[in-house]
């Protein structure tokens, strides 16, 4: 069976035969970098189109349908338009920070991609503290948002950035708690270990009710962390026009836009990895026949399927719910999600120690 794993291995072998190990490492880094940028571009195009189509169908509309077959080239056209627009820097803005912010946001998004396993054997960096790395880096994106809001010299931007800061910092907590509950079960921070431990069933099903609760809490928390509705207070277009990116135009605006969608992809990929087994096919205990059939579906498809399903759920939230108010948002975190995830973590620890999980 042709799998992506074999391709990467043959490339690696071919390079090793030709060059010295240092050059190979450099070359591979370049290839990986190009792949990530390519992935970003493709993800941006696909996810924006997906969002527009999903919203259109929920709103009894057709959505983009003029550019290309069934509107598939709409986002390409939009990107071209944005690329040709003038990138304005407002008078009175801190020019360095203002221009740096979108790049910072996108670089953070790129860095989180490193330990994500896209398919069997496709992982940029299988670091032994993968989960810790992800939680640590993802909290950096708030710096970019704060920078953009502050440097714009606009009150709406400033308000949006401050909201975003308060929001991301609080929701990190319950997202982290949910991640720890899975770490407690697996006993390892390495992404590949977490995936392997779900060989005979996903943690969502194996870990009883606590796993489901922490899955739900994780989804809510990451929706808030990526500033998506109903937690899109940092942008809140009916209150703050566009929040922290009010003053951005052209390609720099596009970078913020891209970063939002890539972040959604990443958090959904992490949720899929931790709770739904990543690239691991759906295996049920010892049903050998069933498991073998499931194995025939390529691992990359499993991973993408799970991730895109979660992305769809997050989009579904966005096009159904009204926005929360800032104090309600913080109430939800500190009064509901955090206590719940703490109790949940305790339960999970008991389950793990007693070995009650399947």
């Amino acid at each position: 069976m042709l799998s992506i794993e074999n391709i990467t291995h043959s490339i690696d072998a071919w390079l090793n035969g030709k060059f010295s190990p240092t050059v190979v490492l450099l070359l591979e880094s370049v290839i990986v970098g190009l792949c990530v940028i390519g992935l970003f571009a493709v993800l941006g195009l696909v996810l924006v189109l997906m969002e527009r189509k999903v919203s259109a169908y929920m709103q009894v509309r057709l959505g983009p349908n003029r550019v290309g077959p069934a509107g598939t080239l709409q986002t390409v056209a939009d990107t071209l338009k944005l690329a040709m627009k003038e990138g304005l820097t407002p008078d009175g803005a801190d020019k360095l920070l203002f221009n740096l912010a979108p790049f910072l946001v996108i670089v953070v998004a790129m860095m989180i991609l490193a330990p994500v396993a896209f398919a069997k054997g496709i992982q940029i960096w299988d670091i032994n503290i993968g989960v810790l790395y992800i939680t640590a880096i993802s909290s950096l994106s708030v710096v970019g948002v704060l920078m953009a809001g502050w440097a714009s010299n606009n009150k709406y931007s400033l308000l949006g950035a401050m909201r975003s800061g308060a929001q991301i910092v609080s929701y990190e907590l319950s997202a982290g708690m949910s991640v720890i509950s899975i770490v407690v079960l697996t006993g390892s921070l390495r992404i590949s270990d977490i995936i392997t431990s779900q060989q005979d069933g996903w943690w969502l099903f194996k870990g009883h009710i606590p796993a489901m609760i922490s899955f739900i809490i994780f989804i809510i928390a990451v929706t808030a962390e990526t500033n998506r509705a109903p937690f899109d207070l940092a942008e809140a277009e009916s209150e703050l026009t566009a929040g922290f990116h009010t003053e951005y135009s052209g390609m720099r605006f596009a970078l913020f836009f891209l970063a939002e969608y890539v972040n959604v992809f990443i958090v959904c990929a992490i949720a899929a990895t931790l709770f739904l087994g990543g690239w691991m096919p759906l295996h049920i205990g010892h049903w050998a026949g069933f498991n073998r059939v499931m194995d025939y579906i390529p691992s990359s498809l499993w991973f993408m399927g799970k991730t895109f399903f979660l992305i769809f759920v997050i989009m579904w939230f966005r096009w159904t719910f009204p926005r929360l108010r800032i104090d309600q948002l913080l109430n939800l975190e500190w009064k509901y999600l955090l206590p719940m995830s703490m109790v949940n973590l305790l339960l999970m620890t008991v389950i793990s120690i007693e070995g009650w999980h399947f």
């Binding site: 509309r61 709406y156 009916s238 703050l240 159904t320 719910f321 009204p322 926005r323 108010r325 800032i326």
Partner: protein, 371 residues
Amino acid sequence: MIEELGTTEQGDLVINLGPQHPSTHGVLHLVITLSGETIRKVEPHLGYIHRSIEKMCESLSYRQFIYVTSRMDYLSSHINNHGCALCVEKGLQIEIPERAKVIRVLMDELTRLASHQLWWGAMAMDVGALTPFFHAFRERESINDIMEETCGARLTMNYMVPGGVMADIHPNFQKKVKEFVRYFNTKIDEYDELVTDNIIFKSRMKGIGYLSPESAVSYGCTGPTARGSGVSCDIRKLYPYEVYGRVSFEEVIDGGGDCFARYNVRMQEMRQSVSIIEQLIDNIPEGEFQAKTKAVLKLPKGEFYSRVETARGEFGVYIISEGGTTPYRIKFRSPGFSNLSALDHMARGHKIGDLVAIMGTLDLVIPDIDR
């Protein structure tokens, strides 16, 4: 003078909300003073769409000036025209045919429904839910189609003329309205499912923007804004005009005084409007649709005032006639103007997000305020 923008002496932030802002529904300009996210003061700056309609009307004849009033509260243009036509008829002392009365009331209620539907969508959009807007427009579209068929236009109909209505109803009118009522009755429950029952929406609305009955009266609030504070002020019920005295409907009053009460009043009013339409649609009497009037209308010397209930509240037309073919002075008492004056009182101490929600429940139409 517009304040020195920036911060106040106490270090509060001064923000211009509008005139170009997604949630001011037009060109309303609010200068808000913020302490953190909490509102200290809201000050409306009006006039971005002031056309001085009152001055314009002084040079238009009694047939001509009615069409201008469609451009004030464009969402209840029928009802505005109705108020003007009533005032002219009062001056001319003519009785309009029974058929015209029923048609007028039917059109008013359809307009009220369309206006409330748009408000519902825009209100949900203000608190961040974008989908209801499109669902509301779907139903509004059917009303617009009905209007288009009978009146010839979708928004600014100019269908009410002194003496009755401009044309008889279209042969398909009754059938289409009945179809619409049947369709809408299934959809209004979806409105509740999607927005009203939603826990986020409820918590955004409850206890926000409290307006006591005393201040509602003192600020001159009318319509759903005042009825949401428990003040009975429905002109249709208190001073019935046309056939409102004969149809049975309830004046919806909710004593809550907060945003949710105002929201609830409008939602229930939609149901009441549907019930009025259901009562009248099969009982349109035969006969003329327009009373005989002279080609050139001249009002006797005197003052005439008529009040009607638009979707936003009490609309008053005050004509002072010197006996000529044009009014000497005309004053439109628009509901939005008085309702807006209570905004500062309601919004103080709340967050920016709440201000947007309060503005949503006031259902402001800016041309109605600026005239």
